[in-house]
Amino acid sequence: MKLDLLTSVYVFMLAAFIGFEVIRRVSPLLHTPLMSLTNALDAIAVVGAIILAGESHQHGGRLAKILGTIAIVAATSNIVGGFLITDRMLRMFKASGPRKQ
């Protein structure tokens, strides 16, 4: 794959700006769910682990398979656990009064 360093840096920079702007607006009320949700999203690293564990390699293939497999387990538990607990927490937040705004 061609290394396109500059594009990556641009992508990172723009994503960081978007992150700041979007996350600044999250009320302190929801900071705990915010952390568990970003944690689940961060586990998208699983895509790298899947390719690592599944690809065939000329050398070092066994190591890559073992490390990749453990990495998938770690990331998947974050995905499943992170989304589950975030949703559980958010279900508990209810506004007062019978009517919804």
């Binding site: 990556s8 990172f12 994503a15 992150g19 700041f20 979007v22 996350i23 600044r24 607006r25 999250v26 009320s27 302190p28 009320l29 929801l30 705990t32 769910p33 952390m35 949700l37 970003t38 944690n39 689940a40 999203l41 961060d42 586990a43 998208i44 690293a45 699983v46 790298g48 682990a49 899947i50 390719i51 690592l52 564990a53 599944g54 065939s56 190591l63 398979k65 490390l67 990749g68 497999t69 990495a71 387990v73 770690a74 998947t76 538990s77 974050n78 995905i79 499943v80 656990g81 992170g82 989304f83 589950l84 607990i85 559980r88 958010l90 279900r91 508990m92 209810k94 506004a95 705004q101």
Partner: protein, 464 residues
Amino acid sequence: MTGVPTEHIIEITYLIATALFILSLKWLSSPTTARRGVFAGEIGMLLAIVGTLMYHGIVEYKWIVIALVLGSIIGVPLGEVAMTAVPQRTALSHAFGALCVTLVGTAEYYLRAPSVPPFVMGVLSMEIILGSLTFTGSLMAAGKLQEILPQRPITYKGQNFVNLGLLAVAIVVAGVLVAHPEKMQLFPLVVDIPLVFGVMMIIPIGGADMPTVISLLNSYAGLSAAAMGFVLQSKLLIIAGALDGASGFILSVNMSKAMNRSFTNVLFGAFGQEQDGAGAGAKETRSARSASPEEAAAILAAANKVVIVPGYGMAVAQAQHKVRELFDGLTKRGIDVKFGIHPVAGRMPGHMNVLLAEADIPYDKLLDMDEINGEFSQTDVALIIGANDVTNPAARTDSSSPIFGMPILDVDKARTVMVIKRSMGAGFAGIENPLYYMDKTLMLFGDAKNFVGAIVRELAGGHE
């Protein structure tokens, strides 16, 4: 495959996943749309994983499927923990995320060595250093929060020097590898030294500093994932990592502001230092007034506006459901009841809100420090349950106090202050609280759960 090549389909799933991740965080900004945000995140994640599984380079699926199933089996109980255990669960998940990134980085090095381009080696080192220090650091934090490890900060002379020295050695070794990626015997140092550093970094940290530390580890975990994205040339990963890193960074800044620590102090892991010897302050000789549940109930019943200030002590005493009963009892009498929540109340950002929401207290009654502070002057009773330092007026007035300058909840501006507390002992940081000796303050000695329960019974009895 006919029609659209698989590569394009994969890219499209990644593109949609990226958009959904950003929307997911955007929707989290309000409790009314937040659950939609989780759903968006789930769909994005599912798309990205399915897309990746279509990648033609994958020759063997057996271990991938086993790992996905095993991870899901581990993930379910991690999603079902009690709300009081959420901080340690979060720390543990930072550790898992960092483990994933570190393992992938390590494998990538051995697959690419001995010829690794300098830029790739540089970000790879960053990925591994951040990943491994976050891994052990988060495990330590989880251990302290779960109280498997002693919560007390352990400090020794030259601690910062040792810690920063370790980190510096790791960075120097990484630098050598950038210049000479073929020196494979050096590589284990880049993994191992940060592992040790992660442990050392958390040793001097006490329970009350955990909100800052967890946020910081969150940020590190995100940055290491973004670095992994640079190595693998995955824009999806760079963006997800940047979002997580930004989120952790914002929370760290919030937390350090709320504790009046400078951000460099936080960045270098020098927590807990300032609080050493804070207990050496002069002993108070003045006496405090105490009151019984009956008296407390009578004062509360006569109030028009009550602000309850909960701290971690409330969660320790498992008093949140009794507090809800008190909230109901007072609200039924037409009394305006709100909650004032300090950013560092609890063991992670926003923890107190989750605990109160679990006890069915409506979220529009939960106000953060900036929102509630203007209201104390019109408040009849400020009721403090299990909070101490965050209400200490010395932070405003006494420049010799270790917490001087820390933003606090202005409970002393309320007409009457009531403090539920086990005994007269000083708080976590060992700092005397002059609030307890004010004329308008009533100390309610006892276990938070029992005392609030007693007040609730009094209110109910007096009403019938």
